[in-house]
């Protein structure tokens, strides 16, 4: 994740072998491969790259030959992205969402161990975004590693388990999504907000406590079990009326690092 121009696509381009790094190195599959490792990776970089005059099927066929996948896999991939009925239509006649889905189908050929998706919901309408998001989550559940580049905080929060934040090609932070800096933000509410604030200021693991609207936002270690916090407050005579992960945690962290 990173702001526009931070180098997300450039990094993906380098690890996929289309751009040459000026320095640094990377290693796929711990170096255990006999053929080009890219055949074990499914990738969508920037825009869908297909011949406009060929049909969806014909375009995927070329990809399948390169990746060593059979016709059955093309059919499975097209069915999975719901383009089987439009397989004979020219790529140029597809909507943007369909083009994006065809790219994902192409990336899925040969059952890759890793998927690399650059801005997979770019230019899609809300329904298209939801479709692609569901598809990515399903693919992730099958045990694949999925690397996504995005500047959309909402998308990253909903899809990813881990996040790296970069700016101008430099890694600023990395870690689990709810603890990009090793912390998470909880939003708390109680009938006595004064007592709640006072107790949280005394709570040894709370690094930041401040009021935001009706909530008290508390920054805590990512590993902290929320049940422990609840027990601590209850033992001190306070019953919480609301406790949740703050949806703003990633955003605030992202903005603090990149602005």
């Amino acid at each position: 994740m990173g702001p526009n121009g931070s180098g997300k696509t450039t990094i993906l381009g380098m690890i996929l072998g289309v751009l040459y790094p000026s320095s640094g190195s990377y290693l796929w599959f711990e170096g255990n491969f006999d053929t080009n490792p890219n055949t074990r990776i499914g990738a969508l970089l920037e825009t869908p790259n297909y011949y406009p005059y060929l049909s969806g099927w014909q375009n995927l066929k070329i990809q399948a030959i390169i990746k060593g996948a059979g016709n059955g896999q093309i059919e499975n991939a097209l069915r999975r992205v719901m383009l089987w009925d439009r397989r004979s239509s020219a790529f140029s006649s597809y909507s943007l969402g369909m083009k994006q889905r065809l790219s994902i189908a192409g990336a899925m050929l040969n059952d890759p161990e890793v998927l690399v998706l650059d801005e997979p919901t770019n230019g899609l309408d809300p329904a298209g975004i939801a479709e692609v998001r569901t598809l990515i989550l399903e693919l992730g559940k099958e045990g694949r590693s999925i690397i996504i580049a995005s500047h959309l905080l909402d998308e990253v929060e909903k899809i990813c388990t881990d996040v790296c934040i970069i700016k101008q090609g430099k890694l600023l932070s990395n870690g689990p999504i709810m603890a990009a800096d090793g912390h998470k933000v909880m939003a708390l509410r109680a009938s006595d907000m004064g007592l709640l604030e006072s107790l949280m200021n005394k709570f040894p693991m709370a690094t930041e406590v401040h009021r935001v609207g009706e909530d008290l936002r508390v920054t805590l270690p990512a590993s902290l079990d929320p049940a422990l916090l609840n027990v601590y407050l209850f033992d001190n005579g306070l019953v919480l009326s609301m406790m949740s992960h703050s949806q703003k945690s990633l955003e605030s962290h992202f903005l603090s690092l990149t602005q």
Binding site: V18, L19, N36, N38, L45, I62, I65, G68
Partner: protein, 255 residues
């Protein structure tokens, strides 16, 4: 990756491409038109365009070589499609090496040259059989080697064209730079009296030289090189073009 897979992927690009077949049809029509502009053209009663075998192989392949720009346009169209639609980039992402992509294009150039030669040879045969009063297999095949030279001519032209496409990345720009280089070479040959080496276009054009003609030979003399010299030069220039192409794409980012 198996070589056959590279060829298979390449075939899948242009076999379903309608513009490829339209251009091939145009090639057939123009080649046929060139051969039927006049039958046994005469000046003062002397036949200057002899459309009978065996000499027709020389004249025919020479005429066909004069329209080499048509296969060149087909090549430019096909390769710039790969670059313009970023299919080359996607191919590398999917597992092709740059070298394998290049091998695919070399196959395409051989295929295209072969197809153009077959069309030309077919029309020459058709014209020759119609124009020759009686024909024997010896007469038919006596100068058939010109067909092989025509193939080498095409491969040479298209190899230069391919290198220029990689450098310019734009169809019109590559076509203009091709003809710009062609004219520049003509100018150099015209200006410098004794060049130490034959230049690429000179070699590929002279592979199928203009048939002997008293009138024209007085104005533009034919180069005093043997066919073997020219084949040797061609066999140096063609790999040089491909080596430069490989060098060019190996060290350049694909965007």
């Amino acid at each position: 990756m198996k070589l056959l897979n590279i060829f298979h992927a390449e075939l899948r690009r242009f076999i379903p491409y309608p513009a490829f077949w339209v251009m091939m049809l145009v090639l057939i029509i123009i080649t046929f038109g060139v051969f039927n502009m006049g039958t046994n053209f005469r000046i003062n009663g002397i036949i200057v365009v002899d459309k009978t075998f065996p000499s027709l192989w020389h004249l025919g392949t020479y005429l066909v070589s004069c329209i080499s720009f048509l296969p060149l346009i087909i090549l430019i169209n096909a390769v710039t499609n790969d670059i313009q639609y970023r299919v080359f980039k996607q191919n590398v992402i999917d597992g092709f090496s740059r070298f394998q992509w290049l091998v695919g294009k070399l196959f395409f150039i051989f295929f295209l040259s072969g197809l153009a030669v077959i069309i030309g040879a077919g029309i020459i045969s058709f014209t020759g059989i119609q124009s020759t009063p009686w024909i024997t297999p010896e007469m038919y095949f006596e100068k058939f080697y010109f067909v092989g030279l025509l193939f080498l001519h095409y491969v040479g032209w298209l190899s230069i064209g391919f290198l220029l496409i990689l450098i310019t990345k734009r169809s019109m720009l590559s076509l203009l730079s091709f003809f710009g280089l062609f004219l520049l070479e003509k100018y150099i040959v015209f200006k410098v009296e004794k060049l130490p080496v034959l230049l690429p276009f000179q070699v590929f054009n002279e592979l199928v030289p203009r048939p002997k003609n008293e009138l024209l030979d007085k104005m533009i003399p034919i180069l005093p090189y043997t066919t073997y010299d020219l084949i040797l030069y061609a066999c140096l220039y063609i790999p040089a073009c491909w080596g430069l192409s490989l060098l060019f794409i190996s060290y350049r980012d694909i965007r």
